[in-house]
Amino acid sequence: MTDRVGTVAVVGRDAPLWLAAAALQRAFGVTGVRVQAVELPSWLGSVDCYSTLPSLASMHRLLGIDEAKILEAASGVPVVAQRFSNWAKGAPPYLVAYDDDPSGSGDLPFAQYWLKGHKEGLRAGIEDFSLGCACARLGRVPLPPATANAELSASYGYNLDASIYAEALKQLAARRGVETISARIADVKVEGERISSIELEGGATVKADLFVDASGAERVLMMRLPGAQFHSWPDRFPCDRVLTASAAKFRSLPAFAQISAIRGGWIGIHPLRDRTTISAVYSSDTISDQAMVAQLAVLARMPVSGDAVVSDLRPGLLDRPWVGNCVAIGEAAAAVDPLAAVGLHLAQGCISHLVTLFPATAGQMPESMAYNDTIRAFASNIADFTQAHYLLNRRFDDPFWDQAREAPATPTLRSKIDLFSARGAVSLRDNETFSEQSWTWLFLGAGIEPEGFDPRIDLVADRPLIEKVQQRLRTVAELAKRMPSVDQFVGGIDQLEAAGVT
């Protein structure tokens, strides 16, 4: 085969770099493709934590990573839901869990049954009918069901010590055969829309048929390409600063990440095994870094210890994440406010699409058209899900939050909110990350009261409807009670066996 891609240079840092390099090596190493990683200085500090979505587990499977081992090494804790506090005045916190959508049963979504019941006086909230939410409240982990066609299942992401996790991926990439150079970029040689080579500080030159930009917000390669433009969304996402610090570990691990709205932003509490990561995401227009450092412990309601690290946040999207022979992945392609724990998921989604769309030739790469369409839609849906939290806030009379409520949103997000407000239904699009159920928990939790429901619900008589609702309530409660606690989960196999879980 002539003109195949023979060499790939992945340029970047931290987990996205190593995930990309390892995945490409795993998929194409055997076909003779040489994968080189150019490692730029890390941006991770000892306080950093990766908060991930459930999808990370499938990436681990693909790469042949032993899940239990890497969790243990990286102080990993399962995250079954996110718990949102103070996003509405006087309202209790709400949970957004990762319940899986049932596969093609033909039945209407359960939320429709609940809505009708709710309108007729049903007391139990929607969270009581979500396995993910129920587990999160009980501090339990919804292990995958034993049978494939189980009616209810939920997934969970992880909090991981970022430095340790990135280092473990680096070693994995090396074991798989990825060659690594650690350096800084001195120059990027561009011909037309293509990168011909990269010159490193110290004089070395890296040539490749395909370049991957995994450098995060620096976009070290993409920004040298005339065809790449980054569009930021300052009016949609008001927060531009991230402060990260640590607190002591929880004595008993919660199953959720706490996301509390504050004046000018939000505070995230992410439990790890050996410590707790506290992050503050805020607008520098509203709060200064110094003020945030000073207030952090009070706002988090936890004593904060050690270093606090501040970094910039600039949400936005490259209009063409793949230009010429250079492909941006993760934050280099799209940056989103970290509220919904989507950082690594963005990287991972880009990497999966790149593996699928790996260019057939080193010359023309029309695969870029499909990649660009897909990644734009994928990132846009994630940004919509994230922005919905801001847009639907009910912290009235707080200028920052009033403005977030009035912020412009995409027509897609508007129409999703509209449809949900009218019918309690979610219209999923192509390249959607969050399930219909996650969107539902978010919309209901954020306070949307749908005005109506699917008229077909009225075909179900009252009695069977009540029975169905009660049945689900019981099933969720019973299933959740049988699941191991987070402490048992992180305690490993012995603890799980002791808890009667196999």
């Binding site: 085969m1 195949r4 891609v5 998929a27 194409f28 055997v30 076909t31 493709v33 033909g106 209407l108 593996v355 699928t356 769309l357 790996f358 260019p359 057939a360 030739t361 023309q364 029309p366 695969e367 058209m369 499909a370 369409d373 897909t374 129409s415 509209d418 449809l419 407000s421 009218a422 019918r423 239904a425 219209s427 999923l428 699009r429 192509d430 959607e432 109506g452 699917d454 008229p455 077909r456 009225d458 075909l459």
Partner: protein, 495 residues
């Protein structure tokens, strides 16, 4: 379809359904080919399949055989099924393409269970579960559309639809512009909160009264005439529709139990009616049962299917030629999109917007898929084909073609008809072979890949050999004449 679905799937305590229909207005269809979604629709309505098939002279359909489309003498089947076993990450045809580039002269059709069964004139229901290759297909029906309409009308009336015989003379709106009342020629008035316009091309309510604009797509789909003609039942009773490209259009052949549906769809820009009639009559396989009658149409759609308190279904909302049997599907999907959004009171823009968004996707994606058949051709015997080859296609389609040409990749989508296997069969069938296979296919050791494909071919061929002939299966399952046990023997004897 609409009346039956609405009366069956909307709660009666909240909605009552009235059907206004006229015996004087004939039904267009002579025979009709459907898509597998038809079965889901019938199942949802609780329709007994065998009874429906007996009542409508139906046969089974596994796909469409396209003859002379890419070039004269070519034939490919667009199946209701996939090629190869389901796979994630790497599409099956990439492996096939690599095997071919390594010198194996294997036809992609040998790896599709549905195609192999269709070519062998055999039929059986797909296997349950998803583990074996004989579960990787679905099926649809060929039936007599007027008998199906009558069959549904009976069910709709049994289930409580009020049917009013009559023609609509005028439509009254209220001060806001919503439709309020239909005035019939009899002088009767039919009032309603919500109206479904199934009035065909006239689009009495949506186009006529509410003035929703028509968008013309004839620059891409130039066929604007059809000459349907019934012929006698064909002997082989194929489990597929055959569509044969002609100089200025194409000809369908749909086998029913009691007769065969045929017709010539052509473009009046490239052939006149008389010449088309001659070409059609000269090309038929079986004796003619009636004279061909001319139908006129135009490709395009109303820019919105739902406006105010009116949803248009079928021809009153748009028309795409019947090449891929999408007419009934478009009605069905509109009904299925409408049900969850059906208004409780006055129509709500939020619901209208969602419905129209979904229907846009349906129409656009089918449009692109149809254009593909015309655009990718290397025929040199007709002006129509030269025109279509060089015409500018929609950007969405041009991009799809360019990517496929390069590496065989086909993007899938969540909403809308025709997923990757359908696109694949048409791309390859129309003669577009990708220049390269995707690099992921190289990751499998060649010997293993070849062995895997070879085993699959053999597996399919073996299983096909054990399937009954379509006509035999049909005679046992849903013979329209089967009123007593001897009919079965009669049917078998006739074969």
């Amino acid at each position: 379809m609409a009346a039956t679905a609405l009366v069956s799937m909307l709660p009666r305590q909240r909605y009552s359904v009235t059907l206004v229909e006229s015996e004087e207005i004939g039904i267009v269809g002579v025979g009709e080919a459907t898509l597998p979604q038809m079965k889901n629709f019938n199942d949802l309505l609780g329709i007994d399949e065998a009874e429906m098939m007996r009542s409508t002279q139906a046969t089974f359909k596994l796909g469409i055989d396209f003859v002379d489309w890419g070039f004269l003498g070519s034939s490919y089947v667009h199946p209701f099924g996939i090629h190869g076993p389901p796979a994630s990450g790497l599409a099956f045809h990439q492996k096939w393409h690599r095997a071919v580039s390594e010198g194996r002269e294997w036809n992609i059709e040998d790896f599709s269970f549905a195609i192999a069964a269709a070519r062998a004139n055999r039929f059986a229901f797909p296997a349950a579960g998803k583990t074996t290759i004989n579960s990787t297909y679905a099926y649809a029906y060929h039936f007599d559309a007027s008998l199906y309409a009558a069959y549904l009308r009976r069910i709709a009336e049994e289930r409580g639809v009020t049917r009013i015989e009559g023609k609509v003379r005028d439509v009254e709106q209220d001060a806001r512009g919503d439709i309020r009342t239909l005035l019939l020629e009899s002088g009767d008035r039919v009032a309603g909160d919500f109206f479904i316009d199934c009035s065909g091309f006239r689009s009495l309510l949506l186009g006529g009264k509410l003035g929703v604009r028509w968008e013309d797509w004839s620059q891409w789909l130039p066929c604007d005439r059809a000459l349907p003609v019934p012929t006698e039942r064909c002997g082989d009773l194929t489990p597929y529709t055959r569509v044969t490209a002609m100089k200025a259009g194409w000809r369908w052949r749909i086998p029913l139990q009691h007769r065969t549906g045929n017709g010539y769809v052509f473009s009046s820009r490239f052939i006149d009616e008389e010449k088309a009639r001659e070409e059609l009559l000269a090309s038929l396989d079986e004796p003619v049962l009636a004279e061909p009658r001319l139908l006129k149409f135009e490709a395009g759609r109303r820019i919105k299917s739902w406006e105010r308190n009116c949803v248009a279904l079928g021809l009153s909302s748009g028309f795409l030629e019947p090449l891929e049997s999408t007419s009934i599907y478009l009605m069905q999907i509109a009904i299925m999109h409408l049900l969850p959004l059906f208004p409780a009171g006055r129509p709500d823009d939020r619901l209208v917007g969602e419905f129209n968004r979904r229907m846009d996707l349906e129409y656009d994606r089918i449009r692109d898929f149809l254009i593909l058949h015309y655009h990718l051709n290397s025929r040199d015997d007709g002006e129509l084909w030269r025109y279509c080859r060089s015409m500018q296609v929609p950007e969405s389609l041009a991009r799809k073609i360019e990517i496929f040409r390069h590496c065989g990749y086909i993007e899938d989508y969540r909403d809308g008809l025709f997923n990757a296997p359908s696109w694949l069969s048409v791309f390859l069938g129309q003669g577009l072979t990708p220049e390269h296979h995707q690099p992921l296919a190289d990751a499998i050791p060649l010997e293993r890949l070849i062995a895997e494909l070879d085993e699959l071919r053999t597996d399919i061929a073996d299983r096909i050999g054990e399937m009954p002939k379509h006509a035999t299966f049909l005679a046992r399952y849903a013979d329209a004449e089967a009123t007593n046990p001897s009919a079965l023997h009669k049917a078998e004897a006739r074969l």
